[in-house]
Structures are given as C-alpha cells and as structure tokens.
Symmetry: C2
Subunit: 384 residues, 2 copies
C-alpha cells in the first residue's frame, strides 16, 4: 500500500500540475482558466458601470481560491455565503467581509457565527423573524461583537422573507434597539426569476421586485431607519437590480462558471447567455467506459458527480453527441454515428453548477490544455 | 479560532456520542440503528432461505462501518463496489472479497486495481469489451496478481453489457486464455426494473432477465466454460433472481437504509415496501429556519444535502406536512395548519439513498433517541 501522506492520482487527486488535460483522471471538474477570468473581468466591468458593489456568492463554488480571484481580478467587494459552517471556512481562510444570505436561527449556529465575528471581520446575516433578534443579540453581547443584520424581504420566491411592511419595520426597529446588533439594510432576492428563459419574463418579475423593494425602503425611511446595504440579484437578474437606483450590492455567483441551465436563458437581444454573455468555464470531464450497445456510449459521469435537478448536462462542442440518461454512476450518450470509443474523454457542461460543485473535492484548473493548478473545494459539504 | 485538531460540532461533525437526537446539528443524515439492524436480519434470512449469497452493494452507503455490519450481522459473503477508488477505500479498510460491478477500462484505473489486488484479496470486475481483456491481463501479469472477471450481460437497462451471445462467448474465451485473469462468471443486472412500482411489471421484466441469463449460461457451457458466480438483482428484484435457480449471488444495497422511491414500490401482495418489507433506517434531519410565509415552513435541507432525481423527500410520520419544493439550500414544507415553528426539527425520508449518502461526511447513528455512534462515509466522493 502506498504511503497515505502522498496524494495519489485517481484516489486523492484527479491530476497533478503540469499534466496534459488528456491524462486527468475522470470523472472530475475542470475549470477553463481563460474562460473563468474572462467572466470575472466582464462582471467587474458591468458592476463598475452600474456603480453597484459585487458581493460574489461563494455558495456556488465553495472555494477560497475562486473567491480570492473574484476579489483580486473580479472587483468583488466581499463575498456571500449561505450557511454558517460555509462562512466559517471563508472566515478562517482570511475573508473579512461576509454576508450570510440566510436566516441563522439555531442557538448553536448563532453561537458559532458570533465566535468567528472577530474584530476586523464584518459578518452580516438575514432576519425574517422578530423572535430571532433577541437570540442574535444575546450571542453578540456574550461574545462582545457586532453582528450586522439585513431584514429579508419576500419578493416572489415564497420561501424566506417578510411580506408585510409593518412586520418589516417592527423587525428593523427591534434590530436597531438590540445590543450587539446593527441594522444594515435589506435583502430582496428572487431566486426563481434567475432561471426564466425569456428576458421579457424576467423584466416583468423584476419590475415587481424593484417596486416591493422601493416600498420597503420608503416604509423604513418613514420610521427614520436608513439602509446602508440593499442587496439582491443573481446572474439571471442583476442588470435589473443594478439599474434600479435602489440596490447597491448584487449577489451573483453562477456568472463565474456558468452551467447548461443558465446557458439557455436569453439576454435583452434574444441571444443565449452562453453565446453572448458568459463563457462556460466549468466542465465535467468524463471517460467513455462502454460502447457495447449500438448507437450509445456510456460515460463515467452519473448522479454522484453532478446534480440533474435543472436538467441533464450538455456535451460541449462535439456535434452529434447528446447526453440522454443519468444513473447513479453512468451517463448514456446518444452517439448514432458511433464517434466515441472506450477511454475517449469528453467535456460536459453541468446542468446546475452549485449542487454539482458541492459533490467534488477538487477543481482541476486548465489553460492551453495543461493543468495549471488544483484548487480544493474548501467548503464542500459544509451545509450546517 | 479553535484548535483545528479538535472536531467541532456544527463544523467538523454534526453530533457527539451520547447526545440526544434533538441536539444534533442539521442538516445531517441519521441512521435508526434498530431499523437498520432489522433490515440486515431480514435480508440475511431471505438470502439464506433462497440459498444465494448476498454480496451487499457498498456503492449505496460508501461506509466501511455499514459494510462491516452487513457482513457480521447481515450474513453478506462480501461486498460490491462501483468504482476503483471506492473499492480501494474498502480494500484498505480490510475487506478482502470485492466485486467491482462495472467496467474498468482506463489504464491508470486498471493499474490501481491490480495494485490493491494483493494476495488474500479477491477482486472481481466486469468486462463487456474484448479489447479490455488484454489491458487487464497486462496489468495483472505486471503486478503478479489474478484479477477475476465477470462478463456483463445486457439485460434490459441498455447501458453496459454484451447483447450478442457470440460476443459473450468470445470475451469469455479471451479471459480464460489471458494470463493473470480468471473467468469467474456472469453479471446480469437490470437497474431500471428495481424501481418499477408494480410487482407484475417487475415480474414480467425479470422473466426476460432470467431467460437471457439462462441462454448466456447455456452458450458458455456449450463452449465448455462454467460460471462460478452468476450475479445480479437489487432490492426491487432480488426475489426473482434468488428463486431462478441460476443466480447464486445477489447485489442488493438499498435494503439496508431504504428511501422514498423504494418505499413506494409494491410486493407480491400489493403492499408498499416501506409498510411490509423494509424499514426506513435513513433520514435527513432538518430544522425549520423560517415560517414567515403563511401555510409554509422552510427547512435547511435542500439540493446540497440530497438528490431529488427520484422525487422529493417525504416528511416522516408527521401528519399534514408535505415537502413540496427543493432549492439549493432550502426545502419548502406545506404546513397549512401552521404546526411547525422556527428551530423545530423533523425527519425526511430521502427520495434516493445512494446519491444522497454521497453528499455527506457522517452518519449519525441513533438508538432510543440517543446518538450511539458516528460513522464516516468513508468512500464519499470516490468517483474515480
């Protein structure tokens, strides 16, 4: 047996730096660094032009290496996380401006959040329940820290968030009055609209999001409460938030990697996102393991290396090949012309990047066909 | 910051031994040990009565602790794995009789398999391609080991496996003649039929599986090649394989934990599996994080802690609560009576156990409401 301290190809890691892409073990995630950097640069320019802060959502990639580049190359002012344990990974990795875009209600989780809310770290969370305020305040006071709070406004997803403006103002007032807490503003994020294919549909829904946010800000101003941060928007919608004159932060995540589901949605000119807006930078690298059935090739990328909740993956830039069926460990690719042979490798664009990334331990970063870096998915599985 | 060598609740682990279930951090997987052991005992009795060997499929749970109990309590004669890196975890954990129920084609993977195929370890893999035989033989010869081979027969899933009996015999003959390889028999597994709800449907498909297997065995016998192992069957179909007089090994996995999809299928008496055959032993333990929307509660179990490829999870034994929507980090539960409050915890039965288990690092094992053990998901993410 090999020394367990030596990372082994195909067991601990899928590749080594300097290796040709063709040699990389499958199935694994590869990041096309040129495409990734182009996406970061484009988003940086778009946020700058709109004069909004990009707070990149790290729930998508769960990687400190990706987030660092979003700040250094991509102009992000900070990051978003979705869970306390996820935020803790990024706080430990040195990130000091983190918005947890979610309610933190469990006393153990509140205590953990207060514990890493050290001096020099700005930690913000969302609130939609007045009973949560006292618990957050008690933990912040006990740890002698300040926890910043956004009240979450429900704006169409029917999930978390306050719908009634009187409730919104009550919660905001409670936060203002609570020791150890700071009222920082509003979160208004419609997750569902991000994936509407039609631009006109997104525009219609977003008009409501903006109207609700305007009413919420007005209700708070009427109570003499002002919002330092108004945060919302994802890859599918952020142009609406950014041009609203109300939002000053956007929370985009998927723009950095893209996926097949976002690729299908259309911009204002009716062009697909993956043709005209963002480049596919994330791929599932997979090998053919069987061609025993005529007209079909079977690859080694199944449900354990991707999430199919938003549709099947798409074969990247190979005419005549369609991924038609996904089981636990296998994918079936329709190959009527018999192009593929056993041990051939192909790139798939995952259907949905966030839950796909969360299945993997490594990003194999490739430029010009050569592995340039391996980045750990540092917060993989951090769901608490 | 805490000492990183000390496992922390809510960051490294969801629980500690001795803790009450109510204190366990969410979302996480819990195993009801009484139900789990009852499932193992029942399958042991059923396999014994049919005089077939149970080779428990470890791809479902990916845990050495679970597999050890399947052998010690559950009468399993060995285990199945689905990937080389998965088998390697189990080989390193001391398991010495492993069938990889899959083609191993990539030269790096073949080399790794040969490397852990040490004296005293029985390692068997599947073959459906005559070109694969020379590669397997070369690696076995180089490592001075014997790799055992089953030829895989396609029997309805249209995925891997040989359909033509002449091809089958040719591959078997090539294996017999190849240095370092041993022809051990046949694999005939129909993955798709496992989940057909109607018993009559499964019976009809299985009649074909058995007929194809009979023809394959006859074709091999005609060429003077005998099968030491004829392996197939899963939790939904194994009674047909076990009573066929042809199969001497079954490959069931899900029976140990069960899931919502298997719960819905029916036995010969028209009774649901989760009422009359197997107990739900695996649960997703989740907390309510928001009740801000009337008639709905939002829990912390979304796509990052479960796979919804086979349907949404089912709320366990709580009347009036229905899990209706799953997004990346949240689940929406219809709660028209307003039963649930923030921080309440409930059990979900996952839609599909295999890809759900593969998302988690720990099984929190509970008996009588108290945490009795934490078992690592030792082969989590081992997809190579």
């Amino acid at each position: 047996m090999p020394d367990s301290s030596d990372p082994e190809i195909g067991f601990d890691v899928p590749a080594r730096v300097g290796m040709a892409l063709e040699e990389v073990q499958t199935p694994c995630l590869i990041v096309d660094l040129d495409a990734f950097e182009a996406n970061l640069t484009r988003m940086c320019q778009m946020a700058d032009a709109s004069k909004v802060g990009l707070r990149a959502h790290a729930k998508m990639h769960k990687s400190a290496d990706v987030a660092r580049r979003q700040i250094e190359i991509g102009g992000a002012i900070g990051i978003c996380c979705q869970k306390v344990s996820e935020a803790e990974v990024f706080a430990r990795a040195g990130f000091d401006n983190i918005l947890i875009t979610n309610q933190v209600c469990d006393p153990v989780k509140i205590g953990r959040m207060a514990a890493f809310c050290q001096p020099g770290k700005r930690i913000i969370c969302c609130v939609d329940d007045i009973n949560n305020v006292a618990n957050l305040s008690a933990a912040a006071t006990k740890s002698q820290v300040t926890i910043e709070c956004l009240v979450e406004l429900e704006c169409g997803t029917q999930r978390c968030g306050v719908s009634d403006l009187d409730d919104l103002v009550k919660i905001a007032k409670a936060i203002v009055a609570a020791p150890g807490l700071k009222f920082t503003g509003l979160q208004a994020y419609n997750g569902r609209v991000q994936h509407h294919q039609s631009f006109a549909d997104r525009k219609g829904v977003e008009a409501d999001v903006v109207a609700m946010t305007r009413s919420a800000i007005a209700a708070l101003e009427h109570a003499n409460i002002s919002c330092e941060i108004v945060s919302g928007g994802g890859t599918g919608s952020f142009t609406f938030e950014a041009s609203s004159g109300l939002f000053n932060e956007i929370q985009c995540g998927s723009y950095a990697f893209m996926d097949a589901d976002y690729g299908r949605i259309e911009n204002a000119n009716g062009q697909r996102f993956d043709r005209a807006e963002w480049q596919n930078a994330l791929f599932l690298w997979t090998s053919i393991v069987s061609t025993a059935q005529k007209g079909r090739a079977v690859c080694d990328a199944g449900l354990k290396v991707q999430s199919v909740d938003s549709g099947l993956p798409v074969v990247f830039e190979r005419e005549g090949l369609v991924y038609i069926q996904c089981s636990d460990e296998h994918g079936v690719i329709e190959d009527s012309a018999g192009i593929l042979a056993v041990n051939d490798k192909i790139k798939l664009v995952p259907g949905h990047c966030d839950p796909t990334c969360n299945l993997h331990d490594w990003y194999v970063c490739v430029r010009g066909g050569i592995v340039e870096a391996l980045w750990p998915v540092s917060a993989r599985g951090k769901a608490f």
